[in-house]
């Protein structure tokens, strides 16, 4: 059925108060008994959930910032704050794509290698052809890797976990080969402005991050593709029965992850004036941690792009605080892993408590 048909139907219905699908005005209703209290209670519980999902991390972020300002005075420096926002963008842009993937019930472990390859491509192309081709090339590279991942998962039906693990090593090896182990360097002013510049005091990468998140939100909530993403993540079997084009949707999801990663990579290359193999070890974990911490459930179907934004800033903030306090770089990486596990554990503990509660309606004596 065509979209136009739906629109027309609804239009005429609004205009003429006519009924859809020819149903008569009021079905005869027999009396229906329903226990409203239980349902009310259930609804209230889920409303709280929704609120926390959407704004919980942002709240935590604000709290952390307040603590940081109080605890580490140098934090409140404007330059420092700008630096935090700038740092959050590189993981954040990739996390926008990853959020879509996790919402669809999958994820991509190859974003780290993709980032290295794309960033190197960007720097290389920039030094020969200029800024615009550089960004296009980087995004293209990311997209191709994304399509590769998508094909492996959808067409060859390899579990996403293993498929992206394989491409992670494939691409990282490929990067080593292409670069011969060397980083590419370029510091052309037009190019590096994107990663280092500011507009009205706000770092450019952060602005692009927000724009990407906006695009992500629009895609997720205003396009059929976005709706299908949620459907596939929520209940893939029901999606199949409901006629959702699952294969195409998942393919495009991986494409999206690759495209966003490519864009973020170009900015990173611009920021660092260089890029090469082994660019940022542990990147994929940072990205997944950001998404999970931002409130998007690993099982898919529920999540928040706003949460991802907040979580990205939060991670950058934590890294910054650790830096300002001269904490080891290695400790920072450990901290990311710990925070991720903590966030996931909370979910797991919650699940167990719910299970335990629903199995017992009252305290019981232990069995003999």
């Amino acid at each position: 059925m065509r979209f136009r048909d739906v629109k027309e139907n609804i239009n005429t219905s609004i205009a003429r108060k006519q009924n859809l699908s020819g149903l008569s005005d009021k079905p005869q209703i027999l009396s229906m008994s329903s226990p409203p209290q239980d349902r009310e209670r259930r609804r209230a519980a889920t409303d709280w959930d929704l609120l926390w999902e959407k704004f919980g991390i942002a709240t935590v972020l604000v709290l952390v910032w307040i603590l940081a300002v109080v605890g580490t005075p140098r934090f409140a420096n404007l330059d420092n704050l700008a630096s935090v926002l700038r740092q959050s963008a590189f993981v954040g842009i990739s996390a926008v794509g990853m959020t879509i993937a996790v919402l669809a019930g999958t994820f991509d472990l190859s974003v780290g290698s993709t980032q290295a390859l794309s960033a190197w491509t960007a720097v290389l192309v920039a030094s020969h052809y200029g800024v615009v081709p550089a960004f296009i090339a980087a995004v293209l590279v990311g997209g191709i890797v994304g399509l590769l991942n998508g094909s492996l998962v959808v067409l060859i039906r390899i579990p996403a976990f293993i498929a992206t693990l394989g491409t992670m090593f494939l691409i990282s090896g490929l990067t080593f080969i292409l670069t011969n182990g060397q980083s590419a360097r370029f510091n052309g002013k037009d190019f590096v402005w994107w990663g280092n510049g500011q507009v009205g005091g706000v770092p450019v990468p952060f602005i692009i991050f927000l724009l990407c998140a906006l695009v992500g939100i629009v895609v997720l909530h205003r396009t059929p593709f976005g709706r299908y993403v949620f459907a596939v993540g929520s209940n893939i079997r029901a999606a199949h029965v409901a006629g959702v084009p699952i294969g195409r949707t998942v393919l495009f999801v991986f494409l999206a992850v690759g495209l966003f990663t490519g864009l973020g990579a170009a900015l990173l290359g611009s920021r660092l004036y260089s890029a090469g193999p082994g660019l940022e070890p542990g990147f994929e974990l940072n990205v997944i941690a950001t998404v999970v911490l931002g409130g998007t459930r690993l099982a898919g179907g529920r999540g928040s792009m706003l949460g991802t934004i907040a979580a990205a800033i939060l991670f950058a903030t934590l890294a910054n605080i650790l830096n300002l306090n001269h904490v080891d770089a290695f400790v920072q990486r450990v901290a990311v892993g710990l925070v991720l596990l903590l966030a996931l554990s909370v979910e797991g503990i919650r699940q167990r408590l719910v299970e335990r509660w629903s199995r017992r309606q009252r305290p019981t004596n232990p069995a003999h």
């Binding site: 060859i156 390899i158 976990f161 090896g173 941690a289 690993l298 596990l341």
Partner: protein, 325 residues
């Protein structure tokens, strides 16, 4: 049910065995140095390192899980052991190293069974944490072991191969002949059913993770013995090799089955390929690519006869089409 005879039969007819022979023959033709004793010993050693952790990974996959933290565990155990050999001697140090690995595995098991975090993400997080712990412990520097030391025995001669074979025999026996081993397979075969009939799945999974950690540690000890250095950056990517050799060996990723000889031959295949490429002066960077290609290729072939229409596999979830019964 299991006898030496079937091992040989398996080797002759399995794809890995055949590939191994073919690839070995190809390299033997291409480089004269391939078939020298020295080189073959090298191949055996590197195969053993991967095989040991691969055998642990085989148990994990048979039980329905993965462990991505084995590389970090290997490095961590290597660092710890290296740093205490002068104080407490070689054997106690080795024991401590393995115990460290088992402890890391135990923590993995805790996170997966008690905190209900999916295994791949839990071990992904632990990967970073343990790697970071190793780097913190060594302060980013290498720990050298000076002077002549017995520790080197771990990596010299046929010791690694013997260790690998011993572990293979042990795990093979475990899986085929002991209650615990059968319960590992039961858990991987159908977790819900296993729980319902009384298998202590939490205990089984927890133990499996501890075992994986211990094998990872042993691999790490051998690696560090090769260079007599404890390095926090050791064994990055070991997890992929481990998973790859399990897949190559024919153990399905869905759990419930395991092929110990398969993992051994998969390790040999991987080692032969890497060694051959080295000898042909192919850049070491190609090894990662080959590894990725091998893994994906093996999976593609394996999935060829398991895919069904309307069947998209995301993460570790599968859509079940309503089938007969």
């Amino acid at each position: 049910m299991e006898s030496k005879r079937s091992w040989f039969a398996w080797f002759r007819f399995s794809p890995v065995g055949a590939t191994l022979l073919v690839v070995g023959a190809v390299f033997a033709v291409l480089t004269p140095t391939f078939l020298t004793w020295n080189n073959l010993l090298n191949v055996c050693t590197s195969a053993s390192v991967v095989a040991i952790v691969g055998l642990g990974m085989t148990l994990a996959i048979a039980s329905g899980n993965f462990d991505l933290s084995v590389g970090s565990t290997a490095a961590f155990a290597g660092c710890i052991t290296m740093s205490v050999v002068p104080q407490i001697g070689v054997m106690p140090a080795i024991a401590l190293g393995i115990a460290t690995g088992a402890l890391v595995g135990w923590v993995n098991g805790l996170i997966v069974t008690e905190l209900r975090v999916p295994a791949f993400i839990a071990t992904l997080g632990m990967l970073t944490i343990v790697r970071g712990a190793a780097l913190i412990y060594t302060r980013g520097r290498d720990i050298y072991l000076f002077g002549k030391t017995d520790y080197k025995i771990l990596s010299t001669g046929i010791t690694p191969a013997l260790l690998a074979l011993a572990i293979a025999v042990f795990f093979g026996l475990l899986l085929k002949q002991t209650r615990f081993g059968r319960h590992i397979l039961a858990t991987g075969s159908n977790l819900a059913s296993a729980r319902r009939v009384g298998v202590r799945t939490s205990y089984v999974l927890w133990s499996v993770f501890a075992i994986v950690g211990a094998t990872a540690a042993l691999s790490g000890l051998i690696l560090s013995a090769q260079v007599l250095t404890g390095n926090g950056r050791l064994a990055t990517g070991l997890e992929l090799s481990a998973i790859a050799v399990v897949v190559l060996g024919g153990t399905p990723l869905t759990g419930g089955q395991a092929s110990i000889p398969g993992t051994l031959f998969g390790s040999l295949l991987l080692a032969v390929i890497n060694n051959g490429l080295n000898l042909l002066n192919v850049s070491v960077f190609y090894q990662n690519v080959t590894l990725g290609l091998l893994l994906l290729g093996a999976l593609t072939l394996a999935s060829g006869w398991t895919s069904r229409p309307g069947h998209v596999v995301t993460k570790d979830s599968k859509v079940r089409n309503k089938q007969t019964g």
